[in-house]
């Protein structure tokens, strides 16, 4: 197993600074990600929460440089720390945003340094190639070993993620596996080149709660063993509370709030985070009473409201202020940051 150097303490593995990914279309510009900054450290899980259209998937697609065609990174830096390639010891920093999306360089990073666990285990595997062939292909793209060695590596990987009878599964097709096994096979494929950063894009949305518990436990264990960093994307606040150490809440391409998981859940500052947490029916909440809701629905990205994108649905909106300008992300407390004008006053008066 390849050891993972966690670099010098405090240095993030990935740091994204003011990332802006726009979709330049004939009808206009969709600002899918509009100024997002965050750090991901080795051995930590960084959670991105948000509803559909908030830009959480586009953010990680930008990191991997796989944004679909009208989409483009128009601003920002995506700094990845990796071992130096010239053979010298130590690490170097690479700005992924400046690379050509088709270059050799980014291809060696995708699947090598950074791996993706996609949302749909059903559609992520090719139905006409065996599981084994697909994992072997991924291994041989990144490591210079022969097919036999790659196959035995794939076998070990499947065993490590808890797939029963791995030697048989290698020669099976994805449609012969159950949802849980398929998701494990995907994780095996993502891990086969020992990535330092794992991006899990809603990895449990399509599976049952019991399978979800299995997948989440597997990810936690693998992270402990390998000290890898995980970016975990989900819309399920329960999953994020149990998995992540730091959380970023997004809405329509903007960061509403970010901070340590405990602060986000126990001292949420942004009205959106507060409303979101109130509106979920949990197994420990009062039954059959009206839930507090967020009025309206998420606007289409073309009709993004002026000012704070959440203001038309916000109960604490201040007319003339929230619809006029977009609030900047502001520190509240030690590590928590929030973008809301309610706290700009605090800053001024305090």
């Amino acid at each position: 197993m390849v050891g993972v150097n966690s670099g010098k303490i405090g240095a993030p593995l990935l740091s994204v600074r003011d990332l802006k990914t726009y979709f330049l279309m004939d009808e206009g510009v969709v600002k899918a990600v509009d100024g997002v900054s965050f750090d991901v450290h080795a051995g930590q899980t960084f959670g991105i929460v948000g509803e559909s259209g908030c830009g959480k998937s586009v953010t990680v697609k930008s990191v991997l440089r796989i944004v679909e065609v009208p989409g483009k990174i128009v601003h920002g830096r995506i700094l990845l720390r990796r071992p130096r390639r010239d053979g010298a010891s130590g690490e170097e920093e690479l700005d992924l945003a400046t690379l050509d999306a088709r270059s050799e360089e980014i291809r060696s990073i995708r699947g090598g340094q950074i791996a993706l666990i996609p949302q749909e285990p059903m559609t992520s595997f090719s139905p006409v190639h065996t599981i084994g062939n697909q994992i072997v292909e991924a291994i041989m793209l990144h490591q210079s070993i022969d097919k036999q060695a790659a196959r035995s590596l794939a076998h070990d990987m499947l065993r490590d993620v808890g797939v029963p009878m791995p030697e048989r599964r290698l020669d099976e097709y994805s449609w012969q596996l159950s949802g849980g096994l398929r998701q494990r096979a995907i994780i095996a494929m993502a891990l086969c080149c020992h990535p330092r950063l794992l991006i899990a894009d809603e990895p449990t949305t399509a599976v049952d709660v019991t399978t979800q518990a299995q997948v989440l436990r597997l990810l936690r264990e693998l992270q402990r063993e390998r000290n890898s960093a995980i970016i975990f994307i989900t819309h399920d606040l329960g999953v994020i509370a149990q998995m992540a150490r730091f959380v970023m809440v997004m809405y329509l391409g903007l960061v509403m709030e970010q901070g340590p998981v405990d602060d986000i859940f126990h001292a949420p500052k942004h009205p959106y985070t507060q409303a979101l947490l109130r509106s979920i029916p949990s197994v420990s909440s009062e039954p059959r009473v009206s839930l507090p809701t967020i009025s309206g629905s998420i606007p289409h990205p073309f009709n993004k409201p002026a000012g704070c994108p959440f203001h038309p649905r916000c109960i604490k909106r201040m007319p003339g202020r929230c619809d006029a300008a977009t609030p900047a992300l502001q520190a509240v407390g030690e590590k928590q940051r929030v973008s809301c004008f309610l706290y700009h006053d605090v800053e001024v008066s305090g």
Partner: protein
């Protein structure tokens, strides 16, 4: 046929739905997928019964049998009609079912694929009335306008097409369509699982509100236990085509009596980082309903399995008043529940 106003609205007895597995040129039946296998439950008028379980456990097949979108293989489904007559839905043919269709309607999971993109709202919401021959065009227009208002949409939207609406609004359209023929029983198959978190609460509130205003009875199929606990009076838990537990929501969550129910509840991650949850895992996979294990279907995954569980199928029995469970060892074991605060 008997008339009894005290009978439950729907009483399902020993319902089975088998799908044959066929092989070869002559399509010889070589086995059965027992999607629903000897399921019995009842639904009282005005209450909400939740049907929960993992995918493939037969909850959708059960609900489709109830509205007779599927014909059951055997069993009885006694439905008390609006006229107070009790009829067995399982044995009725197409023509006999037709007058009963308006009384039971369905709300679907995916608001994107359950609305015809080429029909406008008037046509979508008015179609059940048209099909069932209720009212002329003028009456239908008035009714659709009223329904749209009822579910929180503006009547002016009547000429628009589904693509103009968001997921939550589409689900409201689906609900308006189901209510257009004034049903008494509404089967909702995962009505909020395809919606965004901030919109789910709106739809749940709407369903609760409509139930009170129109005295509806719901069968609520879901896999999200948080949602189920919020909206259901009673919950039935299914596993590989069989009911394993049925009880009042409070009792079930407070003190589950079947290890599977307890495992399902323990698997739900709670939205609080200080509460450790969602890490109790159930080993293995749901067995195939075509080839279920011997004895209790749950025994290969059950932490409490004893010899009797491997050989004998447990009966679905009433262990305490209105708490039914199919487990040999319910009396001996204590299972952790979720306290109601």
């Amino acid at each position: 046929m008997t008339s009894a106003s005290t009978a439950p609205l729907l009483e399902v007895k020993n319902l089975c739905k088998y799908f044959p597995i066929q092989k070869g040129f002559f399509k010889k039946t070589i086995g059965n997928v027992r999607a629903v296998d000897d399921v019995s439950f009842f639904v009282e008028e005005g209450e909400t019964l939740g049907l929960v379980g993992e995918s493939g456990c037969g909850k959708t097949t059960t609900s489709r049998c109830v509205v007779r979108a599927l014909a059951p293989s055997s069993g009885q489904m006694l439905f008390r009609t609006g006229e107070g007559q009790v009829v067995d839905l399982a044995t009725l043919d197409r023509d006999a079912l037709r007058p009963l269709r308006p009384e039971m309607q369905m709300i679907f999971q995916d608001p994107y694929s359950s609305l015809n993109p080429r029909m406008n709202l008037f046509e979508i919401v008015g179609e059940p009335m048209l099909v069932n021959g209720l009212g002329n065009r003028k009456q239908r227009t008035d009714q659709v306008a009223e329904l749209l208002q009822l579910v929180g949409l503006r009547p002016e939207y009547m000429q628009r097409f589904p693509h103009a609406f968001s997921g939550g609004q589409r689900q409201r359209i689906g609900i308006a369509r189901a209510l257009s023929v004034r049903p008494r029983l509404v089967v909702a198959d995962e009505p909020v699982s395809a919606l965004d978190v901030s919109v789910q609460a709106q739809i749940l509130n709407l369903l609760l509100d409509l139930q009170q205003r129109l005295s509806l009875t719901y069968i609520f199929v879901a896999h999200n236990l948080g949602v189920v606990k919020h909206i259901c009076d009673r919950v039935a838990v299914m596993y590989v085509g069989k009911l394993v537990e049925m009880a009042n929501t409070g009792d079930l969550f407070h003190q589950p009596r079947h290890p599977y129910t307890a495992a399902l509840m323990a698997a739900v991650p709670v939205a609080d980082p200080r509460v450790e949850s969602g890490n109790v895992e159930l080993k293995g996979e749901v067995p195939s309903p075509a080839n279920p294990p011997s004895g209790c279907y749950f025994h290969p995954r059950c932490a409490y399995a004893a010899d009797v569980c491997r050989s004998e199928l447990p009966a679905f029995r009433e262990i305490t008043p209105s708490h039914f469970v199919a487990c040999h060892r319910s009396e001996e074991i204590t299972l952790p529940g979720i306290s109601l605060t």
